[in-house]
């Protein structure tokens, strides 16, 4: 897909160059014929997102022409809206379960929905159906010398169903991205936010592999906690080199295969303070300095739902929930970790909650090779380390490699918050919250992973 995308981009840029010349030649012309601006190379690209440009016989205004020339199709289209999720129906009166929630859901969120391939108008069908956490996505490190090598993220603001009075703009802030321009940094005070019914395209040219996160930065205290937060990572240019590690997959451009891995699992840590979510659905405001979460989540779920398989995103952007769990439709991302004996597992951990977290992997060592999208190596000095517990504060990320031991039958290892008060659901006794499991199978049991967090029926 990526190669296809790059060739497409090249065509568009080539056309831009030619278009500029043609525009120069046609200086003074009020209108330009559509055919000059809509050649086959562009038509082959993903569907243009602005339906106002449809109609081959119509002449374009200058503004529309400029828009078409300079508006690339999106690799990823995210729709910002509100919605509902499911958490264990522990009674936290009056906040949880939320009395306004449509069954089978019980918690109110703001969030993003993956609507890639849809126009803004088509995406409107998903207003009020945010998913949680924000969709996981990943990018390839670009060639800095190729200006056509880029990732285009379209953000559309659909507005809220439950809170039509809130006319907040939204943004996408790529947290930790090095050397952006503010225009693409998604911090709305310094540039702009996207109002309801509008789209904006962020251009990312990542040079630095590693695990990052992203979130809305408008009214961030509220929007991030309400769920507009997810993980994103950048794959290194070294990927595909099977000489350093057989899989050809690496966390970083390590030059020696030390960050090679067979399977990868991204986990975003977040929190759910029922009072904040309930006050938002009930047109009220919490006092944020009273912050006191009831649920500590991994990929937007709490144990034991963290082990439920992934949901499915269909080509029309609908979501098929995990079998038998319709209430998890909007929480499609599992946190179950699987591997065959002897394989290397890359854990991509990121924290967008508001509390410091420590995760312990009982029985296995984690080799921390990266933090905050930085290979833990300075020159030739290796500063990586082994541990059984990683700590990460809000906004921090950790890349840790776990070597699956040589088991001969399924063996389970829990990965859990070492703050035991967070290993429960809503204060009820019993295991819940930020807990998941690493399942190691005998060699050859599981098929090779083709994308992050992919799971298999053994």
């Amino acid at each position: 897909m990526d190669e296809k995308f790059r060739s497409r981009r090249l065509s568009r840029r080539d056309f831009l160059r030619w278009g500029g010349i043609l525009l120069g030649a046609a200086a003074g012309a009020r209108f330009l014929p559509t055919r000059l601006l809509n050649p086959a190379t562009v038509a082959e690209a993903a569907p243009l997102v602005h339906s106002t440009l449809a109609g081959p016989s119509r002449r374009l205004t200058d503004e529309e022409a400029a828009f078409l020339l300079t508006d690339p199709p999106a690799n990823l289209h995210l729709a910002a809206t509100d919605g509902w999720i499911y958490l264990p129906p522990i009674a936290i009166p009056p906040y949880h379960p939320d009395d306004l929630a449509p069954p089978p859901f019980n918690g109110y969120i703001f969030g993003f929905r993956n609507v890639t391939g849809l126009t803004l108008a088509q995406a409107m069908a998903f207003k009020g159906q945010a998913e949680h956490p924000a969709p996981l996505f990943w990018l390839d490190q670009v060639d800095p010398n190729n200006p056509n090598d880029m990732f285009v993220l379209q953000l559309s603001n659909l507005g809220f169903v439950q809170r039509p009075d809130l006319t907040d703009p939204h943004t996408v802030h790529f947290h930790g991205f090095r050397h952006p321009i503010p225009f693409f940094d998604g911090e709305p005070f310094s540039t702009l936010g996207v109002p309801i019914g509008r789209s904006f395209k962020y251009i990312f040219r990542p040079r630095d592999p590693g695990t990052y996160m992203y979130h809305c930065h408008a009214e961030d205290t509220e929007h991030v906690h309400m769920g507009m937060a997810g993980a994103v990572f950048v794959r290194p240019a070294q990927n595909g080199n099977t000489l350093l590690y057989p899989s050809g997959k690496y966390a970083y451009n390590d030059g020696d295969g030390s960050t090679g891995y067979d399977r990868e699992f991204a986990i975003i840590l977040t929190e759910f303070w029922a009072e904040a979510h309930w006050t938002d659905s009930h047109i009220q405001l919490p006092e944020w300095t009273d912050y006191n979460p009831n649920f500590y989540m991994m990929n937007g779920r709490v144990y034991p739902d963290t082990l439920v398989p992934n949901g499915t995103r269909n080509p029309d952007s609908t979501l098929t929930p995990p079998a038998g769990r319709p209430e998890l439709e909007r929480q499609p991302l599992s946190t179950l970790i699987q591997a065959n004996a002897g394989e290397r597992i890359l854990l991509r951990l990121a924290n967008l909650g508001y509390r410091d977290q420590s995760l312990t992997l009982a029985g296995l060592k984690m080799h921390v090779v990266g933090k905050d999208a930085t290979l833990l190596r300075n020159g030739t000095t290796d500063i990586s380390y082994e541990t059984n517990t990683v700590s990460l504060g809000p906004g921090e990320s950790v890349d840790a490699i776990v070597i699956a031991p040589g088991v001969t039958s399924l063996t389970r290892y829990p990965l859990y918050s070492r703050n035991y008060a967070r290993v429960n659901n809503g204060g009820v006794s019993g295991v819940g919250g930020q807990v998941t499991e690493v399942h190691i199978y005998p060699a050859g049991t599981l098929a090779p992973q083709t994308q992050p967090n992919e799971l298999f029926e053994p």
Binding site: A66, F67, T70, D71, P72, P144, P147, M150, V152, P169, H173, H175, G176, R178, H179, P180, I181, P182, F183, D185, E187, P188, F189, S190, T191, L192, G193, P195, R198, S199, F200, K201, I203, R205, R207, H217, E219, T221, V224, H225, L285, E287, W288, T289, D290, Y354, R355, D356, K371, D372, A373, T374, N378, G379, T381, I383, G393, P394, G395, E396
Partner: protein, 428 residues
Amino acid sequence: MTTRLRQALYGLLMLALLVGIGPASGTPVAVAQTARSSGIVCTTNPSATFTLTTRTGYINLPDGNTLYMWGYSEGNKPFQHPGPVLCVNEGDTVTIVLHNTLPEDVSIIFPGQSNVLANGAPAQPQFDAGGHLVSLTNVAAKNNGSVTYSFVADQPGTYLYMSGTNPQIQVQMGLFGALVVRPAMGANYAYNRAETEFNPDFEYIVLLSEIDPLLHLAVEAGQTYDVTQYRARYFMINGRSFPDTIAPNYASWVPNQPYSALVRIRPRDPVDNPLPALVRYLGVGPEIYPFHPHGNNGEIIARDGRVLAGPAAEDTSFEKFSIPVGPGQTWDALVWWEDRDHYDPVLNPVPVTPPNEQNAAFGPWYSGSPYLGRQEALPPGTITYNQCGEYYFMAHNHNLAQLVAWGVVNSGQITWTRIDPPLPNTCP
């Protein structure tokens, strides 16, 4: 001496310094530099001798509240918050005379310094008759007592100083400040290593603290306060809360909070601006503040006043995008921003059309243009604080529940990293 007269004399002294006359011979006088609108304001003294006097006063908060505070002030100056940034040189024998005007005993501890003396003898924790600890170090007695501390500043770096007496009240009330020890290699280095060189025009303090207003009300009323009920409502950088954090040094509307937290740099350029900025982070509050600068990671070169180097002097510094500044910790970060994509309105336009006013909600610091150094028309009625097409990147605590001022959101521990266009520019 009246305050007004004292301020007038101080102003004359500053003027004399700015025109290069320098202090008169005789008793050395500590002075503060005021030349820059943001950036570190060092209080220095030729013999590294400082008098710190405890004062009471009020600070302004962005929700309109004012709060009663205690503070250390230099010499006879009025109350300020936080205490002065004391800058000394490696090897200096630093002398600090603490004069206490408060109705309870007060002291100063100097974490990271060795062999601190109090009145010429080794500074010691203080115990009551029953053998219970009552102070982490020798005190200046209440109601006009004094004590003189001294130590040799033998390790360059960034340090805190703060009260060691009844600290759960006194540090919360504001008895703290920053101490900078400049290395023998020179003031353009953070430490005695070549890779810690920075542009001395771009040196900044980010001192993180927080306030429980009910504790302050209790102290002001002479009441006791159960600190197990502590709950912070305000979160501060250099004693200010956003948007006051970005106001200039000595801004008139926060008269007792002199220190700006605006970080202001220019794009890194191998010819015109090759050196990074230095940001010194200090944590005074009771928890870890995960401080996240947008725009670029910080290169962490030191923690707690010790440069990051291995046993064979190898460089073990590293980059981070969320810097967990813990209680009592300091972190030093080299900071820079590069114009990596070289976007230019003619030669290399951004690949999207900048949206017009119907299609965007413009922020108050936006220039109207994606391009550094350009300003474009904004819709009528749009507020802009943008001065010369400069860029702004937010730098903030990523515990977002702390980006508030007791119910007011978009406040607390937020500041900007301002990127001015390359020189020559039209920026004021």
